[in-house]
């Protein structure tokens, strides 16, 4: 969206804010009269709240995000998670919290830079500063107790930090959070987050009742007075802001014209599984997938389903295969290292044509890699990981809403095609929070109840339709359907058969199903124009960032469009034709590729992005790629730079 520009305009209106260069000029404690108070009107704004891990900044961020969504703002929330189990406090590594980007229209990604940040100490603030998370003109509300701290080292640390920050034109406002909170609680560490929520609520004019409601909801599992105390702290924050801040930010909400829900991708995936009628989730804990099973662990039994925590990922796969074999399609959820361990089992499900859904919430790799961070580098493993020819379906939702619906799609395909469906989400979708239209559960989404009536006389266990390779499976309990499924080469009777014909036939039939599915897929639609100088192609969680970049680029008059793929196996139809309408095609991915101009790298030996490889092999179009592995979502602005560079290179702007 053109927000990028408009935001800049908006800030032009901002009154001269004090910066560290004139500390004495900081807002006095006396009231600021409304007239002097500037209101910054913008179509979107990005907020961060960061603290040492354990100080509860995330709760504050979640509540702020939810309230904003409920008021009708577009919202995208991203967690800021420390990599370490327990990083030492007051160090950059301990930065923990949330980024919340709100807008008048829908918000589809975390954006470029933060416009306003609330920090509980200067070290976590530094962490964000060093990661270039903050806009040059960002507002910074920071706890200033450290400046006056008894410990001299801390005081020096504070001053060093302030100097480091001084390079930028941040607008720094000192807030005596500790001091304030102590008026309500003895241990301010437990209260600052709600005080901070108050600050934000006032600055962004969040409806106080909704805020209160949400706080109570958040702490309903705790005792009531916990809730009340937190409300009190929040109101304290509002009051302080009212008395001391001379600016507010207005991001006009839009009227909510239809029922929305707001949740993160793992919650959506879990609810999608419920909606699909699947009844068993076998898993082994692994970040960032585990929260799917935490949530299901809470609610699945209410729906007659169970979460089985297996002894390892291989067992989880085996249990879901067994459950599917004997009843409704089951699923297993994991991340990279777990997917690796399921490799052999996926091959077994393919060979026995046992329906199975495998959800891989991708994280940084290879190996244990970056467990909490986003990456899209399991694509080729998901597609080609299994020894032997193991044709199966691979889907990738692009939004949190799609996380919900693709579980239904996956279950249906697994049933209809008697096949394995791998669903690739990632850490960005998993923890990102976004409102989307409330799904209307439909019983047609459910697996049909298992039919245990007798199998028609003489029907073979793999009675492949010679054209489509499709067949109907018999389920234990069905009289006349008895057979022994086997991972060995077999004939239609599921009898072990090693002769050339049988193996060729079985291989044909298992592969044919993908071609049939392919025939049912719709040609994907291009975002932007149907032809032009440059087409970006993406998949998975990068959709929002790519499309925002395209929109901003087009606003700059750049002739760029984008295409986003959900089906990776089989690939969606018409790609070659679509590509043909563009002078250049390149994928944008969060995975590794060699930079074309790096030492020793040639066009011949360059290792390209994973989707890029796939598209080149499939279309023979010279698809280029821009990919990075920053362990964070892509920033639309960065993609915009890539577009500019690519088109300049092409001598077009």
């Amino acid at each position: 969206m053109p927000g990028g520009k408009r935001r800049r305009r908006a800030f032009a209106l901002g009154t001269n804010m004090v910066t560290t260069s004139h500390p004495d000029a900081s807002p006095t404690s006396s009231d600021v009269d409304d007239s002097a108070r500037s209101v910054i009107r913008v179509s979107e704004h990005t907020v961060e709240i960061v603290s040492d891990s354990g100080e509860g900044a995330q709760k504050c961020g979640q509540i702020f995000g939810t309230v904003s969504a409920k008021m009708g703002n577009g919202v995208w929330t991203v967690e800021i998670i420390p990599a370490e189990i327990q990083p030492p406090p007051r160090t950059p590594t301990s930065a923990s919290g949330n980024r919340i980007r709100i807008g008048t229209g829908p918000v589809s990604n975390w954006g470029d830079h933060v416009n306003l940040v609330v920090a509980f100490n200067e070290q976590v603030l530094l962490a964000r500063h060093r990661l270039d998370a903050l806009a040059d003109d960002a507002f910074i509300l920071i706890e200033d107790m450290w400046e006056r701290h008894a410990n001299a080292d801390i005081r020096t640390a504070w001053h060093d930090a302030m100097e480091e920050l001084d390079g930028r034109s941040y607008r720094i406002i000192r807030v005596p959070m500790e001091e304030q909170c102590l008026s309500v609680v003895e241990n301010a560490r437990r209260g600052k987050n709600m005080f901070a929520l108050g600050l934000l609520a006032w600055i962004y004019g969040r409806d106080p009742d909704r805020v209160r409601e949400q706080i109570v909801e958040q702490f309903k599992k705790k005792s009531d007075d916990v809730g009340e105390r937190n409300v009190e702290l929040c109101e304290l924050g509002m009051r302080w802001a009212e008395e001391h801040l001379d600016f507010r930010v207005e991001v006009r909400p839009s009227p909510i014209d239809r029922p929305l829900v707001v949740m993160n991708g793992n919650q959506a995936t879990a609810l999608g599984a419920v909606a699909s009628g699947m009844e068993l989730c076998a898993m082994y804990p692994i970040t960032p997938a585990t929260s799917v099973s935490h949530y299901l662990g809470d609610i699945f039994e209410t729906f007659g389903g169970i979460v089985h925590q297996a002894e390892d990922e291989i067992a989880a796969a085996g249990v879901s295969i067994g459950a599917s074999f004997a009843g409704k399609v089951a699923f297993t959820v994991t991340s990279g290292p777990g997917l690796a361990l399921k490799t052999e089992s996926i091959g077994l499900a393919v060979m026995t044509e046992t329906p199975l859904v495998v959800v891989d919430v991708q994280r940084g790799g290879p190996s244990t890699g970056l467990p909490t961070k986003v990456e899209q580098s399991d694509l080729l493993a998901a597609l080609f990981g299994q020894p032997g020819d193991a044709p199966h379906v691979v889907l990738a939702p692009a939004t949190i809403e799609e996380c919900f619906h693709c579980m239904v799609t996956a279950r249906r395909i697994a049933d209809a095609f008697r096949c394995v469906v791998v669903v690739l989400t990632d850490a960005n979708l998993a923890t990102g929070v976004q409102p989307f239209p409330r799904p209307e559960p439909d019983t047609r989404w459910h697996a049909a109840p298992v039919d245990l009536s007798a199998v028609p006389n003489g029907r073979r266990p793999y009675e492949w339709d010679p054209q489509s390779g499709l067949s109907t499976r018999a389920i234990p309990g069905q009289p006349g359907g008895m057979f022994t499924a086997t991972g060995l080469a077999h004939d239609e009777w599921s009898k072990v058969a090693y002769d050339p014909e049988s193996h060729q036939r079985g291989s044909d039939m298992r592969s044919r199903k993908l071609a049939v599915l392919h025939q049912t897929l719709k040609r994907p639609t291009v975002y932007g124009g149907d032809s032009g100088a440059l087409l970006l192609v993406g998949w998975g969680s990068t959709k929002g960032a790519i499309e925002e970049a395209v929109e901003r680029a087009r606003a700059e008059g750049l002739d760029v469009s984008s295409l986003h793929l959900r089906f990776l196996s089989p690939l969606e139809p018409g790609l070659k034709d679509i590509f043909a309408q563009f002078d250049r095609v390149m994928t944008i991915e969060i995975n590794y590729s060699d930079d074309a101009d790096a030492p020793f790298i040639t066009a011949e030996n360059r290792r390209r992005g994973q989707l890029c490889w796939l598209l080149r092999a499939n279309t023979l179009v010279d698809v280029d790629c821009w990919t990075r592995v920053p362990g964070e979502p892509l920033r639309p602005g960065r993609i915009l730079d890539v577009i500019r560079a690519k088109l300049q290179l092409a001598g077009r702007t």
């Binding site: 969504a69 009708g72 909510i256 029922p259 829900v261 707001v262 949740m263 919650q267 609810l271 009628g277 009844e279 068993l280 209410t302 729906f303 007659g304 389903g305 169970i306 089985h308 297996a310 002894e311 291989i314 067992a315 989880a316 796969a317 085996g318 249990v319 879901s320 067994g322 459950a323 599917s324 074999f325 004997a326 009843g327 409704k328 089951a330 089992s345 077994l348 026995t352 409330r438 559960p441 439909d442 019983t443 459910h446 109840p449 298992v450 245990l452 007798a454 234990p476 309990g477 069905q478 009289p479 006349g480 359907g481 008895m482 022994t484 499924a485 086997t486 991972g487 060995l488 009898k495």
Partner: protein
């Protein structure tokens, strides 16, 4: 589970049909002549017949190996999976379909080597199924490699100068796992005892682990032949609540009274002795069964959607 109940009512099933042993047979077993697996197959078929288990209500799950070919020779449902993973697959089946009769058939490599982790945990889960370890103390299908149960010093293709380590004792290992509920041992060459043992295992509610000493004339002929020829090399554990095979008393004269509720003694008896011990080592009917703890009430689609609607509303904006 709807389906479960439904099939328990046996919809479509032919309730009053009588199944003869032959009705449970399928194809020609492709094991070597004299392979103990043949006798074990017969004992199992005898059980199916005597209990009149409906073939469609019965599932045999296996891994990979000579032993794991088992399901192919039965007219029931079967799942011949991958090496070492019979128990997870069987677990998945039992979890969703407690109405089915589930048997897991494994070789010693399958169960005790590559499958060891699943084995330990299946014992813990104590899910109602019969687990048969067909222990020929060697890797048969892959042609003569050392297995965890191969006797120390016994030469194989991978350890030609004699297997390096003392054999793992599957009974002791099982008895060491918390929640173990049924542990027995029999031998392919004592069909009456074998049948009685499998029957006892079938009637036990929980994870019934039966180690069956199995002759492999191809690679380990020397290991069990003496015992198979001379009953005096075997000791039978007897108890009025144990496995009773009166017809054997005459032949197997070494008998030891053992109370299968005594875990400590079970562990001591499980330790290899000069004589092969067969019988029921341990049984405890009071232990928690995972599939029971996880049993779910049936839910109609509409009911579910209503509940799902409520859940979604918790996220309403």
């Amino acid at each position: 589970m709807t389906d479960a109940t439904c099939s328990l009512l046996g919809c479509g099933a032919d309730e009053d049909r009588f199944y003869a042993m032959a009705d449970y047979a399928e194809g020609i077993p492709r094991w070597c002549a004299g392979c103990g697996d043949h006798a074990i197959l017969s004992a199992v078929q005898r059980l199916l017949e005597s209990e009149q288990l409906q073939p469609e209500q019965t599932v045999f799950v296996s891994g990979i190996g000579c032993a794991s070919r088992f399901p192919h020779y039965l007219s029931t449902y079967g799942f011949h999976g991958i090496h070492g993973r019979a128990l997870p697959v069987a677990t998945g089946i039992s979890l969703r379909r407690p109405d089915l009769h589930v048997f897991a058939v494994m070789g010693d490599g399958d169960c005790c080597s590559i499958g060891a982790g699943h084995w330990i945990h299946a014992i813990r889960y104590n899910i109602n199924m019969v687990a048969l370890l067909l222990d020929n103390e060697i890797y048969g299908l892959t042609k003569d490699q050392t297995s965890p149960t191969t006797p120390q010093g016994y030469p194989t293709n991978t350890q030609p100068r004699g297997s390096y380590l003392p054999a793992l004792n599957p009974l002791s290992a099982t008895l060491g796992v918390t929640n173990a509920s049924f542990v027995a041992q029999s031998a392919d060459w004592v069909p009456a005892h074998l049948y009685a043992t499998i029957r006892e295992a079938y009637h036990h509610k929980g994870f019934s682990f039966v180690r069956i000493l199995q002759r492999c004339p191809q690679y380990t002929a020397s290991l069990f032949e003496p015992a198979a020829r001379n009953p005096d090399l075997t000791e039978v554990l007897v108890h009025d609540r144990g496995i009773t095979v009166p017809e054997l008393d005459a032949i197997y004269r070494n008998r030891r009274v053992h109370d299968p509720t005594d875990l400590d003694q079970a562990r001591q008896l499980a330790e290899s002795a000069e004589k092969i011990r067969i019988g029921l080592f341990y049984r405890n009917e009071t232990l928690p069964r995972y599939e029971e703890l996880r049993r779910q009430a049936p839910h109609g689609a509409d009911e579910r959607n209503r509940l799902l609607g409520e859940e979604l509303d918790r996220y309403a904006v």
